[in-house]
Symmetry: none
Subunit: 219 residues, 4 copies
Amino acid sequence: MPKKTFLNLPKPKQQQFLKVAFEEFALHEYHQASITRIVNKLGIAKGSIYQYFENKRDVYFYLLEVAGRMRAKAGEANGNQTPNDFFQFLAENFIKKIHFDLEHPSISGFLFNVMQEKNSDELGNIQLKTKMQTMDFVRQLMDRFKSSARIRKDVDEEMISYYIVQMQWGFYDYLELKYSFNFREKIKENSPIFDISDDEIEQVVMRFIQLLREGIKRN
Amino acid sequence: MPKKTFLNLPKPKQQQFLKVAFEEFALHEYHQASITRIVNKLGIAKGSIYQYFENKRDVYFYLLEVAGRMRAKAGEANGNQTPNDFFQFLAENFIKKIHFDLEHPSISGFLFNVMQEKNSDELGNIQLKTKMQTMDFVRQLMDRFKSSARIRKDVDEEMISYYIVQMQWGFYDYLELKYSFNFREKIKENSPIFDISDDEIEQVVMRFIQLLREGIKRN
Amino acid sequence: MPKKTFLNLPKPKQQQFLKVAFEEFALHEYHQASITRIVNKLGIAKGSIYQYFENKRDVYFYLLEVAGRMRAKAGEANGNQTPNDFFQFLAENFIKKIHFDLEHPSISGFLFNVMQEKNSDELGNIQLKTKMQTMDFVRQLMDRFKSSARIRKDVDEEMISYYIVQMQWGFYDYLELKYSFNFREKIKENSPIFDISDDEIEQVVMRFIQLLREGIKRN
Amino acid sequence: MPKKTFLNLPKPKQQQFLKVAFEEFALHEYHQASITRIVNKLGIAKGSIYQYFENKRDVYFYLLEVAGRMRAKAGEANGNQTPNDFFQFLAENFIKKIHFDLEHPSISGFLFNVMQEKNSDELGNIQLKTKMQTMDFVRQLMDRFKSSARIRKDVDEEMISYYIVQMQWGFYDYLELKYSFNFREKIKENSPIFDISDDEIEQVVMRFIQLLREGIKRN
DNA sequence: GATGAATGAGGATTCATTCAT
DNA sequence: AATGAATGAATCCTCATTCAT
């Protein structure tokens, strides 16, 4: 909920603001992120940011809204034919989001940070709230594929959707660990987050989805 | 690596210190946690804490060491008969840890925070280190049960152990969500984390382990 | 190297800042000098000083630059005719500097302290650097008067210039001792350093220069 | 003025105390010197030092008394024949002191620091007091050589004795500058202060004495 | 609408000294 | 006589926010 002043700004200025703010909040968690640094990078006056937003918290939530919307949209666009298998759909949706992340590292990094934010008096349990949004999306998906989804019914939907979301966010952690790189460093250096081929990404995703689908037991 | 001064303290004083420090670091991530607050809660002089420890960082790493050791030990004690099934073992180990977490919410909360700490100059990649320790534990477990574990071989051990660890830590999120309570509030109020029966916990864990084992697809 | 913020300040405010800061650093050596005390005397907020300067060190070096420039300039202005004798010139330059010191006791006191600052990681060997600057000035002077200076050649220039500088700074000690007053007290009370007439000062200086020139032996 | 407790200590313990304390105050000026560090190096309890001395200041003044006495004594011992020329005597006395300094770098370093101590509420103008003691010694010397000293009478004794003392203390500064070494570093490394031959020292001293005697003008 | 100087509570850390044992 | 834990005032520095221009 930015103030009118922000929305009246010429679009390029708004864009520039978002770019810099995303970067700052991708590089640092909420409390460590610095309004001063944002303002300096933008080359605007300290006071200006308080003409645009109520306070730091306000900026943060606005970023969250924008980022969430963008990433969700990126997952949607499904070309012509929609896969008619739930897991297939999930995989594709996931891969699309990963490509979005590659193209928008600081937005993705910001969201990653949100998912690690401790709940506090200032932000509330923002992490859980955000997770629940994604879970809603998953649940709608399960609904959409209904019977064809072939998802076990002996475990409740809530747990399953949570399980899927949790797996997805863990994915980046896993990559950091497996390919020994540092997410935030990459953003700082402005270098591509992964130097992993599309193929490899797809493979890793497919294996993750398989774990999700079939579990870790041997058949 | 506390100083001698701390170790010479009467045990109850040490305990009291740990209690308060764990609480602070459970409620706030490293940078937000306040030495001043700890000292005030303890009713000791600001200088005293620096007689016990080198600095904030030193306190943090000591807490990590203590907490890690305690939680690991809690998972060990296995009564008379050890289950001879990997998943059975995992479930029991997990339930034991959950009980530990219930009894020591602030220790558990602290460890949870460690798992979310960003890589920084001051702490290093402590999150990764800690996660890898837990993964190692899981891997040793898989080794121990060898063939009997019946774990798929088409996905590498690293991914599987990561998957298990990631899912286990997510479990608390899920509980918060399912039983609508706020972890952090509970720590503050020093009230028991769940009013969930042991039975119910066991049921949830078993379902969760099933997901892990068999995946989410219907058979 | 103050920040823009400081340079944008109205001149009187800048002057007031310099006055108070010089006083503090004249009364106390670097480590003992207190930013808090400066800020309190100025009646400004603690944070303000950090809007003006990077840190304590930054303040210190700025003061050094300003003080050095002012005192050097004070020694320059040479009326109409330049004396064509080296020692005459030295005497006049010295007297001018003494008058400057009388008029700016805290600036002079600050410089005096700089000349006593120990080599440290924080400041580097600032004492040596500053002394060498003054020695350079003396050396240029000797050059300028070349043969007419009639300075012994059996002792190297470096030693001679060092000797002059060392003796000049000792001069104040001597005055304190001879006229039994306390430099530091004077700065605190902001009262004129000496109640010595211009004539008397000139006499003492001339005797001093004679010692420098002819040594202490009887002819 | 140490307490009886200190004087009752076995001599070796007293010696050890002096050694460590001199080192600390040679390496750091009064305020920067740390009682804690002394106590740690000695391996005694924090409280003990306060059984021996009133406070830090008390330690400092005791060190000053001891060091002053030792160095003065070192300058005295004059072998069989006393030179009958004032300047000759001065030179020899000075050289003896320098040798003392070489053998007792931390005592000498401590005294050097005293001579740079700003006067403060805590210590008073200790620098000046100490200088005055040495001046007294010089004055007695001038008396002793009376007419044979051949010292100019048109400049008062006070200035002359001050001048001599000031020159002597400046000597170390000069060496530091000329031979580019760092006094305090040498003490820390426990390596010899100079790697300058006795001959070279004597030469430099003689040149300094000549400047003192004959001034810097060419004849 | 923009500016940017001013604010002040808060942070971690240091250290001479005290005092009960 | 020795101990060493406890003290607390003091240090520099940070940063979101305010407000007069």
